[in-house]
């Protein structure tokens, strides 16, 4: 073995044995530092004559390269080991809980109103609103319920002591129907609107609350008849419940503001103790459920709303929003809607991102 080979082998074995980066650095200085042994050999080249240099230089250069490579390789190894050792001390128990964010929710009534607005927008219905503190004239008189009308008594009306600007009492609207009159008066005909909102009846038991939500539908045009009403209700209910299996039963009824008046029942079955819409109510295991009141707008209402009843006719309907929400999403206690119990809101409420869309389906999956 030549002298150089001995130096190289000795250097490589010492580098391999270096315990840490400090020791490695000391070796680098020892071999390749300014005063280093390999550096010293390189310096001898300067004193040689060209022939001698040509003969010895490659070996010395190779030695320097080999030592440098050995140092670099060992450095990588030591650095990797050091990182690993450091990471080992940084271990976290990731079964511990992460910081909690609050989970917000949208109330079922709002969700259902958004769904209805979406469906009816596709049918060309705009959304109209009106005051909840109404006057006697809009709530009753204009809807063909004059002062002495017995149907007024059936409305369980909340009254204020205040007199309305045009006479009569101020009251809390008992239905969304005054919006019919206000819309026709303000916008004329044709009309195609829904009017959702709070309504009030002086009634309170397991299935009634003194405040609840209704949605009114009104279509006024030249050739609208009961068949259009039926189609509209079927179409909306099929879209709302996302099923084609909706069977309606129209029953004659009475509302002063419609003529003819039609009560609409929908067929349901009892599944696991809950009502599930679908099928004819006359089918075995099925029943009919009263869902909404409707009819052809009474010509007197059209007249009092400033339109010519010989030219314009149409239908109106009113349906309980809370009721629709309960049927679709399975709540069974109306009173809980208005309690603000955060446990209930968390359970029955909807994510902010459950925005109803026609392409995604207006319903929010459980």
């Amino acid at each position: 073995m030549s002298e150089l080979e001995t130096i190289q082998s000795d250097a490589e074995s010492r580098i391999a044995a270096a315990a840490d980066l400090n020791a490695l650095e000391a070796l680098r200085v020892e071999f390749l530092g300014k005063q280093g042994s390999v550096s010293g050999l390189l310096k001898t080249l300067g004193k040689m004559n060209p022939e001698e240099r040509q003969e010895k230089a490659p070996a010395i250069q190779a030695l320097r390269q080999a030592v440098a490579d050995a140092l670099a390789a060992k450095k990588d190894v030591l650095e990797a080991a050091e990182l690993e050792a450091r990471l080992a001390t940084e271990t976290l128990d990731l079964t511990l809980p992460a910081p909690e964010g609050a989970r917000g929710t949208v109330h079922p009534v709002s969700q259902v109103m958004d769904e209805l607005a979406e469906i009816f927008a596709d049918l060309g219905f705009a959304v109209a609103t009106g005051p909840e503190i109404e006057d006697d004239w809009y709530n009753f008189t204009a809807l063909n319920m004059p002062e002495s009308h017995p149907a007024r008594a059936m409305h369980d009306t909340f009254y204020f002591p205040d007199t309305a600007p045009k006479g009569g009492r101020m009251l809390l609207r008992t239905h969304t129907s005054p919006v019919q009159v206000r819309t026709m008066m303000a916008e004329g005909a044709p009309v195609r609107i829904i009017a959702p909102g709070r309504v009030y009846r002086s009634d309170s038991d397991a299935t009634h609350t003194p405040m609840f939500h209704q949605i009114e539908g009104l279509v006024i045009d030249r050739d609208i008849h009961l068949g259009h009403l039926k189609w509209t209700l079927e179409t909306f209910l099929k879209a709302f419940f996302e099923t084609d299996d909706i069977v309606l039963r129209l029953r004659p009824s009475y509302f002063p503001f419609t003529e003819p008046s039609v009560e609409v029942d929908v067929g349901f079955a009892i599944v696991k103790g809950k009502r599930v819409l679908g099928g004819s109510g006359d089918a075995p295991g099925h029943g009919w459920m009263e869902l909404l009141g409707s009819g052809m707008v009474n010509r007197r209402v059209i007249e009092m709303s400033g339109l010519d009843p010989d030219e314009w006719q149409g239908f109106a309907f009113g349906v309980g929003v809370d009721r629709l929400a309960m049927l679709k999403y399975g709540m069974d206690d109306l009173r809980a809607f208005f309690d603000g119990d955060v446990r209930w809101l968390q359970h029955y409420g909807f994510s902010a991102y459950d925005q109803p869309t026609l392409s995604g389906g207006v319903g929010a999956r459980a």
Partner: protein
């Protein structure tokens, strides 16, 4: 209204089943709410004969009977009824049967050591009457072993809802007429009554109030005996939910329930002088049949004699002249009262009776003589007696309405085409007369029919609404246009933004307890809207703010043990508008209560909400609402409901308040009995300015600058009272061309800061334009910043 199948079949010849009748009733607009079959309730009860009766060995008042049930060996039954005796026939409830009156299930048992295999029943136990003195005694020919329901002729009972426009169906006969028209059978002709009138009516009958009582007919019947009404009548009345009282009372009830025709019977002995329909005198009183005394006024029609009022006309009779078991001579009254005045009087007095319900909706004005004859005939048949001639005062409306109709209207309005002959048949069956050119004469009892649309309804409902086919609305081919108004879009967006920020939407009552509403009442708004007839005191005043309802909801939750509440609601505040109108304004309320962060392994102790949490919600939601948040000023005057030092308003200009926020005042928390701190926000959606400009979609032009922005930090000593926001605004405005942002990153008082001052450290972001900043540029900008701050007495710290 209830009626039995048996009663219906008395008027209607039909083979239809209960189900078919029910379906048809629903189809023609008479809603069946319930069908009750008494045979089901009486299952397990049989006609039985008592063979032997012996004293109970261990009880004085009991007997041990052997009872023949017609099947197998006689049963031993223990019985406590005094009238139980050998040889009598009665009703035995056998083991397994359920006693209708109390739901008790009968079973084989031992009573004081003696086996009993059933129960002999009283009428009360079977809900057939009130008698509980003894057990039912059946006639000797009652067939032993027959089901008692069958023997008793139990008939299914329909409970129907009659809409207020159909008083003519508030009697079984009217319902039968409708069913017959709908093809469910044939209406039987009514019995013709020929009353032998033995003498002139001895009582003068008069109407001095032709407006309230257009027609008043009377007749005297002498020599009646007012016992119990016959079994068949009692059964019909009981099925209809009427308790039998005495023959005369039952007969008037029967007339009302059969024909929708209320009538009244006076004890003639209690009357003196002419019997007159007149207006009550103010303050006049009457003791009515319900044993209450009513004070009347001059708007009310009454029936009176020389001594005073005997009847609140059409609503309720008086106690004084009511018929008694010993009554022998009676005055019958059949009248036509003005429906409106009956309604007004009934509402004023708060009396709801079957008579009022019918008169108020309008009885048949054409059925006075027939009604009186029918009443007389029944009385004579059941109570005997001799009838007088009829005394008639006034005249009921007799002019029939005529409506020009056209058969094609069923299609135009009802969406269903009905054969002309069928239309004529239907109308005739309902007693409408139709001329060749479709002029329709309306029967007088149909007060509800006014125009062609009503005729359409009659035809279509009898023809069947199930024939109406769905027809699509026209229009809107292609993609539907947006329909929501800007206000609706705003509301929807805010709702989802709030939920996205972790808030839970609640819907709370529009009404509040008055004290809570008063606590949040705005100043100078003419006061709250307060209900006259609230459902309870706690639901009396309309909310002037969304915070109180949410605060109460938060309290309920905290009381239930909830630890953290983030509630919001979007709804109306009810204020007063001009000239007595209501001014309802959409608002968004937020209430944050309890723990903001609950205690945790990493975060340590629980922390509560503070006013800055409220500010954060207010600003974030206003930003989502499109309000120019950068231009908002934080000012005071959030209202006395808020902590005076930890609340504020966000305004666009000094007048326009977009929102208020902050910690609630301890007095507010005390008033609502909530533990604090609680912070709240109220955003006034109506105050948020609408977006201007036509270009709704394109954003303003923007290209990210090529050069990097530069940060410079400044620390100022400022007077302690200087709002930090003022300093920030001054710095931002110091050099608008270069300064794009300024943020406070440190706030310090105490050591090293002179008394009465605080140190505010601000990080200013500078954005170079075309060229990088040179030292001189930066120096110039810094000088402007320092100069702007100096105007607020802020000194750059060395």
């Amino acid at each position: 209204m209830k009626f039995s199948l048996e009663w219906l079949k008395y008027f209607l010849e039909t083979e239809a089943t209960v189900e078919e009748i029910s379906e048809k009733l629903n189809a023609i607009g008479i809603e069946v709410e319930d069908i009750e079959d008494p045979a089901e309730k009486l299952e397990g009860f049989f006609v039985a004969e008592v063979l032997t009766a012996a004293p109970h060995p261990n009880a004085d008042k009991l007997q041990v009977l052997t009872v023949d049930t017609g099947k197998g060996d006689p049963l031993q039954v223990v019985c406590g009824a005094p009238n139980a005796r050998a040889g009598m026939k009665g009703v035995l409830g056998t083991a397994g049967a359920e006693v209708p009156a109390n739901g008790m299930k009968l079973r084989k048992s031992e009573i004081r050591g003696v086996e009993s295999n059933g129960m002999m029943c009283s009428t009360r136990e079977l809900e057939l009457g009130d008698d509980h003195e003894g057990i039912i005694e059946l006639p000797g020919d009652a067939p032993v072993g027959e089901a008692f329901a069958l023997y008793n002729g139990a008939s299914p009972v329909f409970d129907v809802a009659i809409t207020p426009n159909r008083p003519d169906c508030m009697g079984v006969y009217g319902i039968a007429r409708d069913l017959a028209a709908a093809g469910l059978g044939a209406l039987k002709p009514l019995r013709e009554h020929v009353i032998e009138e033995g003498f002139a009516c001895p009582v003068e009958i008069r109407t001095d109030d032709p407006e309230g009582c257009p027609a008043f007919y009377g007749r005297v019947v002498r020599g009646v005996s007012n016992g119990a009404s016959p079994e068949w009548m009692q059964q019909r009345l009981i099925a209809a939910g009427q308790r039998p009282i005495s023959a005369l009372v039952d007969i008037t009830n029967y007339m009302m329930l059969a024909f929708g025709r209320p009538a009244h019977v006076y004890d003639l002995a209690k009357l003196s002088g002419p019997v007159v329909a007149r207006r009550a005198k103010a303050g006049e009183q009457v003791l009515a049949l319900n044993e209450k005394t009513y004070t009347l006024d001059e708007s009310m029609t009454v029936i009176a004699d020389d001594n005073g009022v005997h009847d609140i006309a059409g609503i309720m009779g008086g106690e004084h002249s009511s018929v008694q078991p010993g009554t022998t001579d009676v005055l019958l009254e059949i009248a036509y009262f003005n429906p409106e005045s009956i309604g007004v009087t009934g509402r004023k007095l708060g009396i709801a009776t079957d008579a009022r319900t019918r008169f108020e909706r309008g009885v048949d004005p054409a059925w006075l003589d027939e009604g009186l004859d029918g009443l007389t005939a029944l009385i004579q048949r059941i109570c005997g007696g001799e009838a007088s001639e009829i005394a008639r005062a006034g005249k009921a409306p007799s002019e029939a309405k005529k409506v020009q109709y056209a058969p094609e209207l069923t299609q135009k309005l009802g969406g269903v085409s009905v054969d002309e002959a069928e239309q004529r048949r239907i109308l005739a069956a309902l007693d409408f007369a139709v001329s060749d050119d479709w002029m329709v004469t309306v029967p007088l009892r149909r007060h509800d029919v006014e125009g062609a649309a009503d005729i359409v309804e009659e035809v279509v409902r009898i023809h069947g609404l199930d024939h109406v086919e769905s027809v699509a609305l026209t229009g809107n081919v292609g993609v539907a246009s947006p329909t929501a108004t800007p206000a609706q879009v705003l509301e929807r967006r805010l709702r989802r933004a709030a939920a996205g920020r972790g808030l839970n939407e609640a819907v709370t009552w529009s009404f509040l307890p008055p004290a809570e509403a008063e606590h949040f009442a705005p100043e100078g708004n003419g006061g709250l809207w307060v209900l006259d007839n609230p459902i309870s005191e706690d639901m009396k005043a309309m909310r002037p703010s969304l915070i109180p309802g949410l605060l109460s909801a938060a309290k309920r939750n905290l009381d239930r043990g909830a630890s953290s509440l983030r509630l919001f609601e979007i709804g109306r505040r009810y204020l007063r508008g001009d000239g007595g109108t209501s001014d309802e304004r959409q608002a968004l309320g937020v209430v944050l209560a309890g723990e903001k962060v609950s205690r945790g392994w990493a975060s340590g102790k629980a922390t509560g909400f503070d006013a800055f949490d409220a500010k954060a919600e207010a600003l974030a939601l206003l930003e989502e609402a499109g309000a120019p948040v950068a231009n908002l000023m934080v000012m005071g005057e959030a209202g006395e409901q808020f902590h005076p030092g930890q609340s504020g308003t966000l305004r666009l200009g000094p007048k326009n308040v977009l929102a208020r926020f902050g910690a609630l005042h301890p007095r507010t928390l005390q008033a609502f009995d909530v533990d604090g701190p609680v912070v709240a926000v109220e955003i006034y959606l109506d105050a948020i300015p609408a977006k201007k400009g036509k270009d709704v979609f394109a954003r303003p032009h923007y290209a990210p600058p090529a050069l990097q922005s530069v940060m410079r930090d400044f620390a100022f000593l400022v007077p302690k009272g200087l709002p930090a926001g003022d300093l920030l605004r001054a710095i931002r405005g110091a050099d608008k061309a270069n300064i794009v942002d300024a943020r406070i990153f440190d706030l310090f008082e105490g050591q090293g800061v002179p008394e009465g001052q605080k140190s505010i450290a601000v990080e200013v972001t500078l954005q170079p334009g075309e060229a990088s900043y040179k030292d001189a540029d930066l120096k110039a900008i810094s000088d402007k910043v320092v100069a702007a701050a100096a105007k607020l007495e802020a000194q750059l710290r060395g």
